[in-house]
């Protein structure tokens, strides 16, 4: 191989390509380009059509209060692989307006709505710019730096009242309403009329007016309390007979203000919060966040820690997929029996997690520059037994029981199809993207940790239906076991932390985007530091959230009973969807 950077890994020099439209971002610690607001659509269109940047991974806003600016940050990738192209658009803070990228990438739809909801950035040309996580009518844009929550205490932790004095009080006692609420001055609750759901119903497609055979469209709400919505998720569907005409997902019922809390926390304090994003896969969440902050700090964990990390991440992937398959079968009507088989294996892996981290689910195991505790020989022996003996048998067992089951095939084949083009345009990731025939896996496209020296195949299937999304999870479980076998063979002895463990890490100013291939898809953390102990911006690119963009595409035209199975095949976790 030649020494030159492979063509695919080169980032085009946008300043030469688009003179006067694009500038280099020269702030220390930052990367990418700043695009003029009015040129954004042109530039992105050309990048997509001529330079192969066909995958819009993340869109998010940052409030630069001291400079009086808002910034929208885009991370573009090629589905062929390679590093990110980072674009930024700046807009004055008083009236933040940015052109919407939805005409080019439908995957921007929810993310732009989120930026509007939480930061108040208006995206011009967005087809359906409504609040997404909070409700319509909520006062204020909570992620703005000058917006204060009702229990506001101080800008940043650790709070002086609690440390070092250790003074404890109830937040309720300091609020005039005795609760976690605040209202505009002079507000009278009796006069309030809630605008909430009308907008949703208006946005739904119904049978067209020009239809001369007039039938009524039925609007059905599924959720937020519904046995098969995998948590508190709501879908509004309009039906013609039993066929779905349109579908709008409604989320935010579990919006726990992860990002606002995360920006008050110190860097390390965020680690246990990441556990609670996708609460089935706390280890891979830790991984993504650790990578992002390590990028900023410019450190790398020692070898042994890298192996332990990969081991935990792959165990997590196995656990997640077997759980997802179990619950997909639940949704298909095999009430709980397959899920019980899945949970049995999950428990065995959880035992390993509990042994290394002290907690079954909320592991909080990664640290910047390593992991919290070493893995003892006993635990390794246990993992070895699982990986070489038990788990492969269980995958085969699942395969044998389910893959050729007539009901499974009947209900899954050809249902909920997502084409490759749609999947890419919708920024789908993970098994959803790969089941549609796009072999894109962050572990290969932009390898992190030690994945570049591990041998495994990127699983890919081509039909994009529920059945393939089920099969691809089986494939990926097998590949995970393959990786685990290599890790167990090669894991070296040595330290598990770079430097001393510390509570307060020093993070130089700058930005970083750390992404991992989580079990649900590309999990990214966008972190901006201004040199203080707390992140200035802390954003999570949640795969479950963005994969839901495709739900409508998959469901339209199918029967309402299928929508439950289609949702199950995307595999969402509400903690991550709503954050």
């Amino acid at each position: 191989m030649s020494e030159a950077v492979p063509k695919i890994a080169q980032i085009p020099d946008l300043v030469n390509l688009f003179p006067n439209k694009v500038q280099l971002d020269t702030r220390p610690g930052y990367q990418g380009y700043i695009v003029g607001r009015e040129h954004l659509l042109d530039v992105v269109r050309q990048l997509r059509d001529e330079y192969g940047y066909d995958y819009l991974s993340s869109v998010t806003g940052v409030d630069y209060l001291p400079e009086g600016k808002m910034e929208v940050v885009y991370h573009l990738y090629k589905t062929l692989g390679g590093p990110a192209l980072v674009l930024k658009v700046q807009t004055p803070r008083e009236e933040p307006r940015v052109p919407s990228l939805v005409p080019l990438f439908r995957g921007a739809e929810f993310q732009e709505r989120e930026a509007w909801d939480l930061l108040g950035i208006r995206f011009e040309g967005h087809p359906d710019l409504r609040r997404i996580l909070m409700w319509e009518g909520f006062a204020g844009f909570p992620l703005r730096k000058d917006w204060r929550e009702p229990y506001f205490e101080e800008e940043a932790k650790p709070f002086k009242s609690r440390w070092p004095e250790g003074f404890v009080f109830r937040a309720e006692d300091r609020n005039p309403f005795g609760d976690n609420v605040q209202y505009p001055p002079g507000f009278d609750p009796e006069t309030w009329t809630s605008p909430d759901d009308e907008a949703v119903y208006r946005a739904l497609k119904r049978i067209g007016e020009d239809d001369d055979f007039h039938t009524d469209t039925l609007v059905v709400n599924l959720g937020p309390q519904h046995p098969s919505t995998h948590g508190v998720f709501r879908m509004v569907v309009s039906l013609s007979e039993e066929t779905i005409l349109d579908l709008k997902p409604i989320m935010g019922y579990l919006h726990r203000n992860h990002e606002k809390i995360g920006e008050r926390n110190t860097f390390l304090q965020n680690m246990p919060f990441t556990d609670r994003l996708d609460y089935l896969c706390s280890m891979s969440n830790n991984f993504g966040y650790a990578l992002a902050v390590e990028k900023l700090m410019g450190i790398k964990p020692p070898e042994r820690a890298e192996y332990i990390r990969v081991m935990m991440a792959e165990l997590t992937r196995f656990l997640n997929h077997i759980f997802a398959i179990g619950f997909l079968l639940n949704d298909l009507g095999a009430y709980f029996t397959p899920a019980l088989y899945a949970i049995e294996e999950r428990e065995l892996i959880l035992d390993v997690f509990e042994a290394v981290s002290g907690s079954r689910m909320m592991c909080n195991y990664f640290r910047f520059g390593g992991v919290a505790r070493d893995v003892s020989a006993d635990i390794l022996a246990k993992v070895r037994r699982l990986v070489y003996d038990r788990l492969p048998r269980k995958v085969d067992e699942m395969d044998e029981f389910l893959t050729h089951n007539e009901i499974v095939r009947e209900r899954c084949e050809g249902v909920g199809v997502l084409t490759a083009e749609q999947a890419i345009a919708n920024s789908a990731s993970g098994p959803v993207l790969r089941a549609s025939g796009v072999p894109y896996d962050v572990r290969r496209a932009e390898p992190y940790s030690i994945y570049d020296r591990l041998e495994f195949d990127v699983a890919v299937r081509y039909h994009g239906d529920i059945y393939d999304r089920y099969l691809i999870r089986l494939d990926e479980m097998r590949q995970s076991l393959r990786i685990l076998q290599q890790v167990l063979r090669d894991i070296p002895d040595g330290p598990i932390m770079t430097g001393k463990p510390q509570y307060q890490v020093r993070v130089p100013p700058g930005e970083a985007y750390g992404r991992v291939e989580g079990p649900k898809g590309e999990l990214g953390f966008y972190v901006v530091s201004n040199g203080k102990p707390n992140p200035w911006r802390y954003h999570v690119r949640a795969p479950s959230f963005i994969n839901l963009t495709s739900l409508a595409d998959m469901a339209i035209g199918h029967k309402v009973a299928d929508v439950v199975a289609i949702l199950g095949s995307i595999d969402i976790v509400l903690g991550e969807v709503d954050r």
Partner: protein
């Protein structure tokens, strides 16, 4: 039932003819009624957040909720006896939870599972988080933990059973005449509004408005 309770039940202080000793027992209505109810609690199939996953794990084969007569998870509130609030209660979700509680048939019980449901937990300071479900509906048992382990959940459920066994038919609200008052459903306004607190809200916001005005005047 403990050994002691079984002996108490079979030796109630009445004479049972010897030929019937192993077939007949005499006890109080209250005790047999509570015993039956405590051992057939049907939880609502209702998961909110991370804690719900541990609730599922508790229902699965390793911890086996069926041992306590609770494996029949009902998706409908009308058929369930106990609402396990398993996760973070957000402002956006709380109207639905109160509605579900109102729809449950009496007698009904509520368990606050985990730190979030008990008091807001790690997310308490969040702007969309309710500081504990007991701000809106009465809670019978609180289970600490984040998430509580399945053992802790079982312990909480056993605590609820014990509580039920101590209850008397005479003074429980749901055995009295008259229908129960439903709990007013919170409204989503500029922030969450509890209809029981409208007067307080109005008073405080009015005071804030006058203060703001005075502040403006004094600034000039």
């Amino acid at each position: 039932m403990s050994e002691k309770e079984i002996t108490e039940m079979t030796t109630p202080g009445y004479e049972i003819p010897p030929e019937l000793r192993h077939q007949v027992t005499i006890t109080t209505l209250e005790r047999i009624y509570n015993w039956g109810r405590a051992n057939s609690l049907w939880p609502m199939m209702f998961g909110l957040a991370c804690c719900a996953i541990e609730m599922i794990a508790t229902a699965a084969s390793r911890y086996d909720l069926a041992r306590f007569g609770m494996e029949v998870m009902r998706p409908s509130p009308r058929q369930s006896d106990v609402l396990i609030v398993s996760g973070t209660v957000t402002k956006k979700m709380v109207p639905q939870i109160v509605r579900l509680y109102n729809q449950m048939a009496e007698p009904r019980y509520v368990i606050a599972m985990g730190a979030c449901a008990s008091g807001g937990g790690p997310f308490k300071e969040g702007y969309n988080v309710v500081s504990g479900i007991d701000k809106f509906i009465p809670v019978d048992v609180y289970i600490p933990g984040c998430p509580p382990t399945p053992q802790a959940l079982l312990n909480g459920l056993i605590a609820l059973q014990k509580k039920i066994e101590r209850q008397s038919l005479r003074d429980l609200p749901w055995y009295q005449k008259g229908a129960a008052e439903p709990i007013p459903i919170p409204v989503l306004g500029p922030d969450l509004m509890d209809p029981r607190k409208y007067a307080l809200i109005r008073e405080v916001t009015r005071r804030q408005a006058t203060q703001a005005q005075e502040g403006e005047v004094s600034n000039e």
